[in-house]
């Protein structure tokens, strides 16, 4: 580990890269045929996806009964997965929007990729509300459209808020992503000789021509979008947390949920981005663009958010005790000591303890260790949602209706399938689009900006 001086800003792109080489590096994957590694990877993800498809098939054919859900545990893996994936989907927009507002230059290397992951994660998450219902062919009922029953939806239901939040989030992220892609499409258009590619790129680049009169508006729009995306990304997980916070169930009905969920989302999001990037930068030799410093910065964020989450856990307990409501207090004792204690302690070790390692610089800057920690964090965050959803439900107000929930094989298949779905998209993305924003990176290479000597 070389000595790092944190006092002065480190350059984002290491070494003085000529702009053309940047072009070359970034567009290389798009211009070369996919190699063996790629085919192996995609076949793995596709098999995982197959599991999911089979699981869903069984569910649709026989009914939700194929899952472990019961009365009282009406929600289990389905919603756990939903919240988990929505959480993953938070890093991207945070990196590309919030860090943009904070003028964090180091974001440029990872922004595009993170946004991509956001979109795929939200797509994956979006599946679950649609499939978790008993009669999925009637999902249309969830949208307010005039119909022959002249019946409308219930605007006081958090689930409906979800419908709006998630769909908005997906749309805006897509727009944001596309706007960022336009100049890159243009430069790809100019590079490629292949006729078909040229046509496609021309269509998507909309005939962009790097005019400065455009750049001016373009930057303004980028700013505005960032401005919108920032509260949006916070709102989405807030609203997801309302699913629980608005109910009256002890363990769900908590005011701390919105900030707690957002922190958790960023936490898991960064972990996932970091995991994937470690592979990407190695495979495509982006070490100079996605630098170790960037990764380290991400680890720092993980440390912060991880500690926030830890604080939230503690605070929940305190408030439960402080409230003096017996049901409330019991729910939390039950989490730590009840039949689901194992899940709770997995959660705590993974989310609170493991990120604390990032206090040490060595660990922050060691790729294998940070990778392992990030994996832990993802596992932990999945279990956090499991603990919140399942333990609270399994033992609520009336002891007479308590019951233990055990997942079935189909549950597991669908969980695996969701990962398959997500990573398949990621793989296709790496071969289809520039995973790093060409224009943005160029703009931050040193010497890329005028040295206002005569001003």
């Amino acid at each position: 580990m070389s000595f790092v001086d944190y006092t002065k800003e480190i350059q984002v792109v290491e070494g003085k890269q000529p702009l053309r080489t940047i072009d070359d590096i970034i567009s290389k994957p798009l211009e070369t045929k996919p190699d063996k590694k790629f085919y192996i990877a995609i076949s793995v993800t596709l098999t995982m996806l197959m599991f999911g498809v089979i699981g869903l098939g069984l569910t649709f054919w026989y009914g939700i009964g194929m899952w472990g859900n019961n009365n009282p545990v009406g929600w289990a893996y389905d919603i756990v997965n939903f919240v988990f994936w929505v959480g993953i989907g938070h890093a991207g927009t945070l990196i590309s929007a919030i860090l943009y507002l904070f003028r964090q230059k180091w974001r440029t290397g990872i922004a595009r990729f993170a946004e991509g992951m956001t979109i795929f994660a939200v797509m994956t998450a979006g599946l679950f509300p649609l499939i978790h219902v008993g009669r999925p062919w009637l999902d249309g009922y969830l949208f307010p459209y005039p119909n022959q029953h002249s019946l409308w939806v219930n605007f006081t239901s958090p689930l409906l808020w979800d419908v709006f939040a998630v769909s908005t989030y997906l749309t805006v992220s897509l727009i944001f992503w596309y706007v960022g892609l336009i100049p890159d499409f243009a430069s790809l258009r100019e590079r490629t000789a292949n006729k078909f590619k040229k046509i496609t790129y021309s269509i998507f680049s909309l005939g962009w021509r790097f005019s400065n009169r455009h750049w001016q508006h373009y930057e303004m729009v980028y700013l505005i979008l960032a401005g919108f995306a920032t509260p949006l990304v916070l709102s989405v997980h807030t609203i997801v947390s309302f699913d629980f916070a608005v109910s009256i169930l002890p363990g769900w009905h908590t005011t701390i949920f919105p900030p707690y969920f957002v922190a958790g989302a960023v936490f898991s999001g960064f972990a996932m981005v970091q995991n994937v990037l470690i592979f990407v930068r190695r495979i495509f030799n982006y070490e100079h663009i996605i630098t170790l410093n960037t990764l380290e910065k991400m680890n720092k964020i993980m440390l912060v958010t991880g500690s926030m989450v830890g604080y939230a856990y503690a605070m929940e307990f305190f408030i439960a005790w402080y409230s003096g409501v017996q049901a409330e207090q019991f729910t939390f004792f039950n989490r730590a000591l009840g039949p689901y204690a194992w899940a709770y302690w997995i959660m705590v070790t993974c989310n609170v303890v493991s990120p604390q390692l990032f206090w040490f610089k060595k660990i922050r800057r060691s790729i294998p260790i940070m990778f392992v920690v990030a994996v832990f964090v993802n596992v932990g965050m999945w279990f956090e949602r499991f603990v919140i959803v399942v333990t609270s439900l399994s033992r609520d107000y009336l002891p007479s209706s308590w019951a233990y929930y055990t997942p079935t094989l189909v549950d597991a298949m669908i969980l695996i399938g969701s990962f398959g779905f997500f990573f398949t998209w990621i793989l296709l993305f790496t071969k289809a689009l520039p995973v790093v924003s060409i224009a943005e990176v160029k703009a931050v290479v040193d010497g890329a900006q005028p040295s206002h000597k005569d001003h």
Partner: protein, 1021 residues
Amino acid sequence: MNDSSKTNNVLWKSIEGLNNDPNIQKMKEDEFLDGVTEDFHPNQLSGISRRKFLALLSASAAITATACTDYQDKGEIIPYNKRPQEVLPGTENLYASTCNGCSLSCGILVKTREGRPIKIDGNPDHPINEGKICTKGQASILNLYDPERLKEPLFNNRKISWNDVDKNIIEVLESAVQKGKEIAILTGELTSPTTKKVFDKFSEKYPTTKIYSYSTINQSTRSKAWFECYGSYEFPSIKFDEANVILAIDSDFLVNEDSYLENMRLFTKRREVVGKTDFNRLYVAEGRMSATGMMADYRIRVSPDEQYNFVMSLVNELSKKGSNIEFDPVTKSMVSSFSINNFSKKIGKEKLNYLIDDLNKSRGKSIVYAGSTLSKEVHLAVNLLNEVLGNSNLYNYLNENVVILPQSSREDFDRLIDSMKNGNVDVLIHFGSDPVFYLPYDFEYQSSISRVKTVISLSESLNESCSLSHYVLPLNNQLECWGDSFVQTGVYGLQQPVISPIFNTRQKESILLTWISGSSSNFSSDNYHKFLIENFTQTVYTKLNSFSDAKRVWLSSLHDGVVTLKNVEKLHKKISQSWIPLLKLAKENSGLTVHLTESYFIGDGYFANNGWLQEVPHPITKVTWDNYAALSPLTAKKFNLKNDDIIEVSVSNSKIKIPVFVQPGLSDKTINIEYGYGRKVIGDVGKDIGINPLQLISKNHFETKNILTNASINKIDGTHKLVTTQEHHSLDDTFVKDFHKIRKIIQEGTVEKYQKDPKFLHEHKHELFSITNEHTYSGNKWAMAIDLNKCTSCAACVASCNVENNIPVVGKDQVGKGREMHWIRIDRYFSGSPEDPIASNQPMLCQHCDNAPCENVCPVNATNHSPDGLNQMVYNRCVGTRYCSNNCPYKVRRYNFFDFRDHFADEYYQNNLTALVNNPEVTVRSRGVMEKCTFCVQRIMDVRSTAINEGREISPNEVVTACQQACPTNAITFGDANNPDSNVAKLRNHNLTYHVLEELNIKPNVTYIAKLRNTHSEDNS
């Protein structure tokens, strides 16, 4: 008209369909009705292409439109050709009849729709059960529509026509008579005098006939004991409503024994909290944990084999304090040999003293009652004790228990089986009975049956005896039968069919009558009907000395379903003490004691194939679809057993392997096993459900009944999963102890406390306010009140609700997953110590909260509030997110995880026959839909429409929900809370009223009346 003949058998769509009206023909020919396309003729249009084009366009549009909107055929409409006077399609009819489910023969009122029975309820005019009917009775409607009913007569498992059956059998019978071989008829307990008469005629015609009667559930010991004391087998029923103190000796008289519907009613008359509270006090001395035990104010753990000593020592104690009768010297010495001391150790001085004081204080106003599973000796002792206390005036001689055909003794059966073995029995007729299943194994009935030339089984569905018979003759279901019953003096019940036999079945009496007539050609479907009327006229009509003619009286009695006969009350005889010397002090039994009791919901196994009953949770353990050996926690610890372990119970030289269930409150030396389970030859639902403990009974126990002493158990490896509808928490687990009290789910007090301070329940209550202003309900607002003082957890409400609301059967695996569909459940909470737990029961159903939390979270408005305060489910709008269920603090919503009719026991109940049991007024929910209690909205709507037709308001207590109608103790009250004269409105303002989870401020509309325990202290625990 000429083709009237045609109309009878051919189905036609409409009147016009009959006579070939040219219009109809025309309508059939051109596809579109007038107006759609009549003015469209492309060829006749002028040459202008535009118009032609437009015309074609519109035409194609019209065709597409019709194509897209052609809904598929929903089946033709089939009215009555000639409507029967009493039937109005779409409205219900009620038929008074009598239930044959068990020997109680309660009066029932069968609800039919268009001549098809859809529900069974009690007959309000019946003096014994006064409009109530038990769980089994409620659910027994399913037996009529059981897909595995016998449909055709069988000879060696091959179909055969009734005609041949009759011909052959009559030959067989005659030859038997000629050869002087015995014709044995085995019947269950007989309740019908007319059937008895048929037997008599049969024996006249075939003199070598012998009749044997036996049923596992019987009162033989009680009636024998009565005979020895008072010289008559016919013992009186008890006036429980007049008793201030009741001591039940191992007797489940409230929920599952003797005339329990009547007992419950009389008992709860003394648990009334409206008006003055003069509660009776119930002591239960028992070895097992019975539903009656859960009602007890004081429970005393006495193992059944010690009961005799216990009662005698009570006699001793109380006779010291003075006696109502003179003891003979023998008796005196005999009695004095029993001492209470060794019990005061076991039971605890305090309790015992309370008991003795109470009995002593309320002499003549108390009753001691022994369970019918106990031996004759205990009953004798109890009779003596009652005499000592002078309680004889609580005997109700107006309703004596009638013995039409006494139980055959052990000797009878020994003789029968001997003569079977050496081939002296030619014909064996199982008259709707199943001896192979319930006769003690060491009679070797099963093996010796092969020596009989002709074995005939009359049965509704296959059973163990059928499988060994040559002839299997299908019987009518009780709802297809004529009949009568005479089980208590003064009450003569009549039974009438409400539907003509669905399959090629006959009723057992009419089969015998045909054989009596001596020729198969003499059969006529109404031969027993005629016989019955004739018998009625001879026996009953003459007693009635009414003015109108016999026919008229018959019809009106049939209409009422019951005739009350005046009879003079017998005077109470002096008790004979001649039997005393024969008694001796029962010796201590070293080993464990097995107590076999009747299963709560499937009787002696007759109802084993009834899915609804198999799935009703056991009142105490909440176990479904199984029986088990219940052990006390201490015994379990001793043999280090836990739930689901399998043990081998062995008595003398018979053994059974059975799973264990650890049950607080059992006496440490008692093993309680319920019989009726473990049927081997039966429909798919009941086959191999549970273990058959009757295999333990040897013929030596024929007299001592179901108490098997000197039993031993040993653990064997392997487990068997018992599924319950309620998670079990060990009572000493401080982690979850007494939550029902802490969370004010159950609120209780004692009578003393209540009399001191009627408002004690509402001492620490603080004002609840909501930030939004409440929605007000003008007009009706439906509400329910449940009186926990009266709930005996008999689960009649559950069964009634199942039948009324088309609740599916989900099966054992799904119950195990916690997916049972019952809309109303009875929660059971234990507090106190594992040795003597205090049980609290609470019927829990949708509370129809004003601020229903389930409604806020439904994204599609599938659940919302009706203008009359109902929390309603719109099944067809429901997409099934289950969010409402998550947000329901009472967890009373039920979700169709599968299409359960389709999923249970590969589509067992998914067929056209079982579909007939479903209530046409209630939607059959598809999979993926949430459902819950609707307060029987279909009944509300029914009442409302009648009220509107008659241009009046709905009267305060007019609407009756299914559970309310079924509740034998009227613990459930329903009505319009906005109407001050309704019973509900009154109860809502009662001092003992509370809501479950009140502090959530969701304003439930089901209010509970706190239970008062009639103990000596002010604090209940």
